[in-house]
Symmetry: C2
Subunit: 343 residues, 2 copies
DNA sequence: CTGTTAGCGCCTTCAT
DNA sequence: ATGAAGGCGCTAACAG
């Protein structure tokens, strides 16, 4: 365990003081070129490396962004983290990662740990289980910027990044209508999550705008699992008036529905319409490949990081309306999971 | 921006000193129960939160593990990070994440930043581009534990976690032989990466052990992309002695191969054998679903974290042979991408 | 331009 | 069982 080289060591070698070395290394204008050069050379020679901990303690800034996500193993969140890190690093920020596994208690603990670590900002996607938001308000009280993405809550006054779920669902449903399907069902997600609520609303709006009647029995809810998608589709296929297409609020459920369609030999392109809502990368690879709504994973992370970087240092939470970035969804039409042979 | 509550504030309220408060909060046995209780209550009342930065500066320990991966958007690495974080957190460690995007320069920068941050350990999967390992040796010199996973290098003397690629490839190839295929080709990965070298060796060994002849023209190399898999399969199908099965060193290439097989109408189960090597989650969902080798993503992360936690504090790098955890691969046989109808 | 001094918040000897 | 004092490595205010 080698002892750390400090600015004092450099100072001693150069017969000067730590303050001068510090200034030289930080490119302070009051230091002469000659001195700067000597310091830099000695720093390299001694293999000096700044101690971020000490710097943070002194300056009150850590250059660390805390990121709280349900799980890094969910491809959507992995991609968002990728986006956040890429942008953050360009400005010298590091990422401290915390997973909740969808648990409220972990989320609370995560916020606490990150505050203990004096992170300069926190970026969060709310856990499914969370219904109490006091821990987020605590962050606000501490004056630490908090940014929500995807799983957001508009009532708390935090800046956020989302995609337009309503519009995405509207587009997905409209696409099915365009293809000539007329009895379109919807496998919805947990309605206490805004994203799923919006998708249901988008679905309804599309039906209405195009003169199709909305039927309560065409809505079956799932829990974002393949199994729930399978079961939901089974229910839908057994309806007296069997739907001819399904819009699933999420790709795993769409995938489950696809398994059921296969079981019923309905999976051949053109026989039955199916559109999902992307949070996974597999849509491209399954057969028939899945038409879906692009959730712009990486961009979402990038935007969240940029949002923080653009935040004012003072009066952080004084705006009456925090910035809200709404990414435009994009329909990814693949092969023919959603197309129809004859009208 | 509220001012932070410190142990001094608690001390003042209680007419005692910071030292006592610190001891009480750290459950030091020399503090009486009464005092401890009073301190704890006041801490809660004032909403005290320990400052990890200050603690780290003083103690020299940050309780942070630096993790360097090519990219969080690659599902394999996301899962590994998930595994690392889960285990680490149980022992109070946080994860500082750094992505290289497969760039050597980023990897070097990452190591440097993490050392600046005084992380207690670094867990790395080496970037594809890296051929110079001095930055890792620097970590060793600083006395910081470094653990490699998946993309490792045995010559550097670091503990590591891998799966047995040789065995995985051997199992995959043997499975195809068991199914009755006799002319099995291999789409290999970059041979300067040990994992791909081992997979090729495993493939060869399986052929040899079962009395099948190895043919140089049955090996086509790809670069871990779908496109390269497609092209490689195209080459293989045009051979004079067309193979009847393919073992791809990696799932994306297997997927590409599958596209080519579909184009040639060879994708129906039993007509042509295909096995991949998993780093993605889609194998389960494609049609026909892909037989593959389980790379134990999450476990790999868990084991890497456990490895660090079990490391001796002193004489870290004095062992002549660093621990090497070799996870056992597991063949995931799905549907019939790899089965054969008739011998 | 450069040196001196004084902490950031915490923990840990050394006293008492 | 508790206080006093010092310092982890760095930077900022105040001198010159």
């Amino acid at each position: 365990m080698k002892k750390r080289v400090t600015i004092h060591d450099i100072a001693k070698e150069l017969n000067t003081t730590a303050a001068t070395v510090s200034r030289a290394l930080n490119n302070n204008p009051s230091i002469g070129m000659a001195m700067k050069k000597r310091v830099q050379e000695m720093a390299k020679k001694l293999n000096y490396r700044q101690d971020r901990i000490a710097t943070s303690l002194r300056s009150g800034k850590t250059f660390v962004i805390g990121v709280i996500i349900p799980s890094a193993k969910i491809s959507f969140f992995g991609s968002v983290v990728h986006g956040i890190e890429s942008i953050a690093r360009k400005s010298g920020y590091q990422i401290l990662l915390f997973q909740t596994n969808e648990k409220y208690s972990n989320e609370k603990e995560g916020i606490n740990t990150l505050l203990q670590s004096n992170v300069d900002a926190i970026i969060v996607s709310i856990s499914k289980e969370t219904t109490n938001y006091d821990h987020f308000l605590e962050v606000k009280e501490q004056g630490v910027p908090l940014i929500l993405f995807d799983r957001t809550n508009d009532t708390l006054g935090f800046p956020s990044v989302v995609i337009d779920d309503f519009k995405g669902a509207y587009m997905a449903t409209s696409h099915l209508i365009d293809q000539g399907y007329t009895n379109i069902a919807h496998i919805c997600g947990q309605q206490h999550l805004k994203i799923f609520e919006d998708r249901l609303l988008g679905y309804k709006a599309a039906l209405e705008d195009r003169g199709l009647i909305f039927k309560e029995e065409n809505i079956v809810s799932g829990d974002v699992s393949i199994q729930s998608g399978e079961k939901a589709a089974e229910v839908l296929l057994n309806l007296a008036e069997r739907p001819d297409a399904i819009f699933a609020a999420e790709d795993f459920m769409a995938l489950g529905a696809l398994q059921t369609l296969k079981k019923h030999k309905l999976h051949h392109p053109g026989h039955f319409g199916l559109v999902g809502f992307a949070n996974e990368s597999f849509g491209e690879y399954i057969t028939p490949s899945l038409t879906t709504v692009n959730q712009r994973n990486i961009e979402m992370g990038e935007e969240a990081a940029k949002l923080f970087l653009s935040l004012p240092t003072k009066n952080l939470y004084n705006d009456q309306k925090p910035s809200k970035i709404i990414l435009k969804p994009e329909l990814i039409i693949r092969e023919s999971s959603s197309s129809k042979l004859s009208k």
